[in-house]
């Protein structure tokens, strides 16, 4: 029974961790490139969840096969949410690029409130529900008295996360775009003098981060089946914790941090107290900030001469 219970928590933790990891990448990439915490990113995730929900409901009226519905919803959520992310960057951050460091941060908090209220006004304040889209799964260890279940949905979530993370790791390490992004992280002036359009590179970073967050949103609405306009706040803060835990600025760190936060939260709920599960994540944030400010895979700040 104990092993079975543990295994179940592990499965649930990995699923939740995948969602956090996808959001955390957006935080870490934006921090890496412009040194700013994009506090509106959690709300971009929420917008992504709503777009996925609306798209699922519209497709439910048609008779398109499930795999195609999933793929189309994924694309629709990514494209529309990317537009939101791009617009937020253009409206709220780009005009402040040469301003003092706190200005875009305050602007981000403002954008977060704007997005929440916009969705509240447009979609209503009540929770929205979605019928399970992917049903069924495997069960193991029935004879131990605790049945471990691994749903198809959980497999789907983890698989999509792994595929997307592989694609984006390739993008950052192998392509010209990724190289330009890393160059911008290190020296934006010099990058511009290499003939690289820095503003465009930053915009693309927001687009990538937002589309990954929208995938997390889609997973969230499929997994929990319930969303409202406020989910972005808590999920955003937890993903931010994940990014800090992994080392902010490091993309593999964000993935690792996401998984760890997911596991910590689930194991805390499973073994200690489900009411205080949010406390677990924030305790981790505090402890990490005090004892390992650079996180697991973060690089220590290099003095610029």
């Amino acid at each position: 029974m104990d092993t079975a219970y543990f295994l179940q928590q592990l499965i649930n933790g990995l699923t939740l961790g995948s969602v956090y990891g996808l959001i955390a990448i957006g935080y870490t990439m934006v921090y890496g490139i412009i040194g700013m915490i994009n506090f509106a990113h959690g709300d971009i995730f929420m917008v992504g969840a709503f777009i996925a929900l609306i798209s699922f409901i519209l497709f439910a009226l048609t008779s398109i096969a499930l795999p195609i519905v999933l793929l189309l919803t994924l694309l629709i959520a990514m494209v529309f949410t990317a537009c939101y992310g791009w617009t937020v960057e253009k409206l709220a951050y780009k005009p402040l690029r040469k301003s003092f460091r706190l200005a875009p941060l305050i602007s981000a908090l403002g954008m977060s409130i704007v997005l929440q209220n916009y969705v509240q006004a447009a979609q209503g304040a009540r929770i929205k529900t979605l019928q399970p889209v992917i049903q069924g799964g495997f069960t193991f260890m029935e004879d131990t008295g605790f049945t471990v279940s691994l749903s198809y949905l959980q497999i789907f979530i983890v698989l999509v996360t792994i595929i997307l993370m592989a694609i984006f790791t390739l993008l950052i390490t192998k392509t010209a775009l990724g190289r330009a992004q890393r160059a911008c992280e290190q020296d934006r002036t010099m990058t511009a003098l290499m003939g690289i359009n820095v503003d465009r590179t930053i915009s693309i970073t927001f687009i990538i981060g937002s589309s990954l967050a929208s995938v997390a949103g889609m997973m969230f609405v499929m997994y929990y089946g319930v969303i409202d306009f406020y989910i972005g706040f808590l999920a955003g803060i937890k993903a931010f914790t994940a990014a800090v835990l992994g080392g902010i600025g490091s993309v593999p760190g964000a993935m690792l941090g996401g998984l760890l936060i997911g596991l910590i939260e689930v194991f805390w709920s499973g073994y200690i107290s489900i009411e205080y599960k949010d406390i677990a994540a924030f305790t981790v944030l505090v402890v990490v900030l005090i004892f390992f400010p650079t996180g697991f895979l973060g690089k220590p700040d290099i003095e610029k001469v």
């Binding site: 192998k174 890393r182 160059a183 020296d187 010099m190 511009a192 003098l193 290499m194 003939g195 690289i196």
Partner: protein, 264 residues
């Protein structure tokens, strides 16, 4: 007479009441090294900042003459200076991308053609043949330059781990990877020892003779200036006080006065 590559006419730059550059005119040739010298605070770096769009000149004009077009450098700023006008520059302090490999530093400088070939990254992700070919070419160009500065064996090391002198040379060849018409070097010999300075001279002469790239050089190290400059412009308090060949400059009383002061 060969066509001038760069024409700077009556350039003036004021910061409030301070006149950093006062009515400066000079020109630079395509296959010549033009040095700008002067005591500290003479406005040398300000000239570079005007040329590369960091500052908007208060008055005057700057034209870059390519084969068949005449570009007004005032109209270029930010990334367009390198991408559209073909002006590359380095800074007094080394500004490589220290956490990227030596090779990657040179590839960043070739970003635009790679980005075009990668079809906004999508084709690049799937390794389309056209992108692979372009990337190979870019690596070949990088290797060519690394070979010239003798750093081929360190291509995969982080640029920040190179010795100081090698970083200086890498920075210059990185600027060359943009394929510029005009290369602006701000004190490239600062902090180099005699041997490294000599290597630097060789590299700059190679760029001038083989690549036919115009070089604009700010330098305090007179061994570099006197040895390789074809033309010297001397500034003091933002004004041009002398121009001529390096030999003429060395013997000019105005220049000696600006550097050493007059005997009372």
């Amino acid at each position: 007479m060969s066509q001038k590559l760069l024409d700077v006419e009556n350039l003036t730059m004021k910061f409030g009441g301070l006149v950093a550059i006062d009515n400066l005119s000079f020109s630079a040739d395509k296959d010549k090294i033009t040095s700008i010298i002067g005591p500290n605070g003479a406005g040398k770096t300000t000239v570079f900042n005007c040329l590369t769009g960091f500052y908007k000149a208060t008055a005057g004009s700057m034209f870059l003459n390519k084969e068949n077009e005449r570009l007004n450098l005032k109209k270029f700023s930010d990334f367009k200076v390198a991408q559209k006008a073909g002006v590359a520059r380095t800074f007094q302090n080394i500004r490589l991308f220290p956490q990227m490999s030596v090779l990657e530093n040179l590839l960043v400088a070739q970003h635009n053609k790679l980005m075009d070939a990668s079809g906004f990254t999508i084709l690049g992700l799937f390794n389309s043949p056209s992108f692979v070919k372009k990337e190979k070419e870019a690596i070949e160009i990088s290797k060519y330059w690394l070979d010239i500065i003798g750093l081929t064996h360190r291509a995969d090391d982080d640029a920040g781990d190179l010795p100081y002198g090698d970083q200086r040379k890498l920075e210059i060849v990185r600027a060359m990877c943009i394929n510029p018409h005009l290369l602006c070097l701000d004190e490239p010999a600062a902090g180099l020892n005699a041997k490294e300075s000599a290597e630097l001279n060789k590299l700059l002469l190679f760029i001038k003779n083989e690549k036919k790239t115009g070089i604009l050089l700010i330098e305090h190290d007179m061994s570099v200036v006197m040895e390789i400059s074809d033309h010297v412009v001397v500034l003091n308090y933002g004004k041009k006080i002398f121009q001529g060949s390096s030999k003429e400059t060395k013997n000019s009383p105005e220049v000696i006065e600006a550097y050493l002061g007059t005997e009372e």
